[in-house]
Each structure stands twice: as C-alpha cells, then as structure tokens.
C-alpha cells in the first residue's frame, strides 16, 4: 500500500493528473474527516481539505519518501485547520456560521445524543489537544508519527492526548452526557 502511494507520488511529480486524482481520492476521506472534526463545519472543512491537497501536491518534492505519506498529509491539514480557526477568532462574527449543535435533549436517541455531546466537547478543548487526540484515536496514528507530523517531541504529544482525554471526560461528565453508567460499569 505504501509502495502504491510512493508510485502515485512519483507519477504526480512527473505531472500525471490521473495519479494526482488517485492520490487525492485515496486520502480525501481521512483529510476531510480530520478537517470536519477540527472545524465542525462542512464548508470550512471542504475548503481546508482542498487547500491541504493543493499545498501537498505543490510541495510533493518535500515529502520524505522514507516516511509514511498520510501523517505528512494530516500534518498539513492540521496546520490549515489551525490557521482557519485563528482566522475565525479574528473575525468573531463568522462564529455564527458554525453548524448549530442542539442543546442536550434527554429524549434524543442515546448514541446520536452522545455523538453530539462528544462533538461539542471536542470543540471545547485546545486546538493542539484536539488535533493530537483525533490523530491518535480517530486516525490511529502512533505517537511517533504524530510527533513527526506536528514537529513536536513525543512527550509533548502524549501529554496533549492525555489532557485531551481528561478534559473531554470532565466535560462529558459535567453535562451528564453518559447517562447509563451502571450499564457501562457492568461491562467492566
């Protein structure tokens, strides 16, 4: 699989548009997923995912072919998302464009409700924590890969993920998002 990606990169570097198309097609789900979870808004996520790929294709020569391609790509996506969030902070009126998440509804279907609560909680933690958390738990990257992608020491990345988990749990507990604890405890 990694060899296939390398071959696609080589062909893309030679200007083969079919290879570029295949490269984007192969990774668009993961990149868009990360952008969507970082930004919580479809339009921004699509814009940032597109910017990610345009930048990646523009600087393919800079990719170290000894390393995995996906972490490198996700690092670009993470940086684009952070820039987008910083721009949002500078233009507070655009915050209203974020897709609204309904307030806690006790009658809502539990899994959907919990998913909404988790999305809300994710938005409430620091960007670095969220990015590291999503890369580790959602994209299943290793700490070493995340560290290399974000250009941070492994210990820092670990701390970010740990803090993200703890802050998320605190938020979910405060909002009593996990209702039937006794059921979960029985699993333990």
């Amino acid at each position: 699989m990694a060899d296939e990606v390398r071959a696609l990169v080589q062909r893309s570097l030679a200007g083969d548009q079919t290879a570029m198309l295949a490269l984007v097609d192969r990774h668009q789900g993961q990149v868009f997923g990360l952008c969507y979870r970082m930004l919580g808004q479809r339009q921004d996520a699509e814009d940032m995912a597109q910017e990610t790929f345009v930048r990646a294709l523009r600087s393919l020569k800079q990719w170290d072919c000894e390393r995995e391609f996906l972490p490198w790509l996700l690092a670009i996506a993470g940086n684009r998302c952070r820039t987008c969030l910083a721009n949002r902070m500078r233009r507070p009126h655009t915050m209203s464009l974020i897709e609204p998440i309904p307030d806690r509804q006790p009658d809502a279907e539990p899994a959907r409700h919990l998913a909404e609560e988790v999305r809300r909680a994710l938005r409430g933690i620091r960007e670095e924590y969220r990015l590291a958390f999503m890369l580790f738990h959602d994209q299943q990257l290793s700490y070493a890969e995340i560290g290399a992608a974000l250009d941070r020491p492994l210990g820092t990345v670990k701390t970010w993920v740990h803090r993200a988990r703890r802050e998320l749990i605190e938020m979910l507990r405060k909002r009593e998002a996990v209702g039937e604890v006794s059921h979960a405890i029985r699993r333990i």
């Binding site: 969507y36 995912a49 345009v54 919990l114 996990v178």
Partner: protein
C-alpha cells in the same frame, strides 16, 4: 482474555487514571486490565470515569463524518492545474521582460559607445568591448537571480528603468 495479573493490584484514584492512560496509549481495552477492574469495582467515581472514557472512545470512532462532495478530487486537481498554468505564464512573462530589459541595456550601452580615445576606436571591435560599469553588471546579476514569478514583470520593469536612469 485478561492480562496484568497481580496480587498487589491496589491502586489509588490518581494511579488509576495514570494506568488508564498508559493502557489506552497501548491501544488495549481497559476493561481487560485487572488492576483497573479491581479499582473500578470498589470506587464508583473511577468506575464512572472509566465508563465515560470508554463511551468517549467508542463514540469518537463512530461519529459519522459527511463525505466530501463527489467531485472533490477533480476540483483539487483542476485547481492545481490552473495554478501551475498561471505560474508557468508568470515565469514566461518574467523571462520575456528580463530578455527585453537585457536587450535594452545592451542596446543603450553599445549606442552610447565607450569613452575611449580615437586610436582605440580604430582597433577591431573584439579588442575593445564596450565598457559596462561593474555596478551595472552586478545589478543585472541580481535581477536575473531574483526574478520571482508573482512580481517578476514589475520587478524587471523597475530594474530596466533603474538601469536606463543610470546609463543615460
């Protein structure tokens, strides 16, 4: 399957959370860790913590993410293609401007002629090439090294004006 069998598996709450972190770091299911289980059985807040943690991680992986639009990849490749074409055009334009500026410079320099004595003027051309000031040559080098795609044409034009002013 169970692991981490230990007779002295008593944890306090802080140690419970640290252990939970390291179990999750190793991508192992916490419910299979005997020490965590033992503590969670006796400590309701930690049991709640563990349950919330498990629910969180289950949910993170199950959260539905919308798909990007169907022509997303095509749009990206189109954007890259347009960008490359634009850059190519800009580079080409910069090169044309640079060539024009260089031609103008050479024409002006030759037209002005060397400040040489009459006898030197009678010598064959190859033996007395036009004197181009070192400062000008250095500037030409700088121009050729610093042509940027975006501002290439403006930059080259400004340099041509600068050279003309210096020479006339």
């Amino acid at each position: 399957m169970q692991y981490e069998e230990s007779e002295h598996s008593k944890l306090n709450c802080a140690a419970f959370k640290s252990r939970l972190d390291s179990v999750l770091d190793g991508r192992r299911p916490p419910q299979l860790d005997l020490q965590l289980r033992a503590h969670a059985r006796d400590c309701r807040p930690c049991a709640r913590w563990l349950a919330t943690q498990m629910a969180l991680l289950d949910t993170v992986q199950d959260i539905a993410t919308p798909e990007p639009r169907f022509d997303f990849a095509l749009q990206v490749v189109q954007t890259v293609k347009i960008e490359r074409q634009r850059q190519h055009r800009q580079r080409l334009r910069a090169m044309v401007y640079a060539a024009v500026a260089a031609s103008a410079l050479i024409a002006v320099t030759i037209g002005r002629g060397p400040d040489a004595p009459q006898e030197a003027a009678n010598l064959p051309i190859a033996s007395h090439p036009p004197k181009i000031p070192a400062e000008v040559l250095q500037r030409v080098d700088e121009v050729s090294q610093n042509i940027k795609p975006v501002s290439g044409s403006v930059y080259t034009a400004l340099n041509a004006i600068w050279l003309a002013q210096r020479l006339l």
